[in-house]
Symmetry: C2
Subunit: 133 residues, 2 copies
Amino acid sequence: MVVHRIIIKAFYDLYMNQNKLMPKSIIRTYSRYSREASLLLGELIRVARKERKLTAQEVADRAGISRGLLQRIEKGDLKCEIGAVFEVAVIVGVKLFDADETTLTRHIRQTEDKLSLLPKSVRRKSKVVHDDF
Amino acid sequence: MVVHRIIIKAFYDLYMNQNKLMPKSIIRTYSRYSREASLLLGELIRVARKERKLTAQEVADRAGISRGLLQRIEKGDLKCEIGAVFEVAVIVGVKLFDADETTLTRHIRQTEDKLSLLPKSVRRKSKVVHDDF
DNA sequence: CAATAATGATCCATATAAAGATCATAATAT
DNA sequence: ATATTATGATCTTTATATGGATCATTATTG
């Protein structure tokens, strides 16, 4: 029943468009530092991939992502899942935090210890110091 | 015209569901290394935020993200935009690559130099070595 | 202890990232 | 030089991450 699908699709589009009038899109802005950190990570990945003589498709397959996403990652696109980026880094051998597995685990424990000493919640000074003058 | 919206919504749901029968969802799996790297980063962010006495809401606002997303970031959720994570890290003062802005820029240049020396594309050995026996 | 604020968790709607397909171009091996 | 393959770029569809609201719980201050 092709006609059904077409009609339903028309209503679907209608529904989608009625709210599309004001996209309310989220235009996110990034600091220079973030952009450069991401760019560097992407380039390190690309260098590592080539040094290991792996094609983009091979790495993408191993990481379980599309080649297109890998391209964006290597370009330092900030709108990528951090999980995908990290996974690719691992595959091509780029170390995160400059640490191996064991070191990573140790750092986690240290950080958790530190965290346990800090207050569970941050309390804003409820009242201004009552500036008497 | 509330009725219109309801009807249209019904068709919308119908349309969405006809394809939902086989979600074909992408269940991504992550390596232990990726999971721990992300967890560490999240915890470092949380520690830094508390040390600076910033509430979750304040940091979220400054980063232009929701408090919910910040929560996920601090928990090391791998399904977050890397841009959001990096931005938060910058705000609370967690250094990426253990480098300041200048160092970052220098590393980028070094990496690009390295990249320029590598072949533009990786070529798989087109033919197996013709295993004659 | 009481009051209040921060955090954690969950839900829904929607904006958007990702997959997949396709095309053009560039780069490598023979 | 030529054939072949990798890469880059763009488009559409679909899956999903995010924002925003709400509620319960926990912490902190006074």
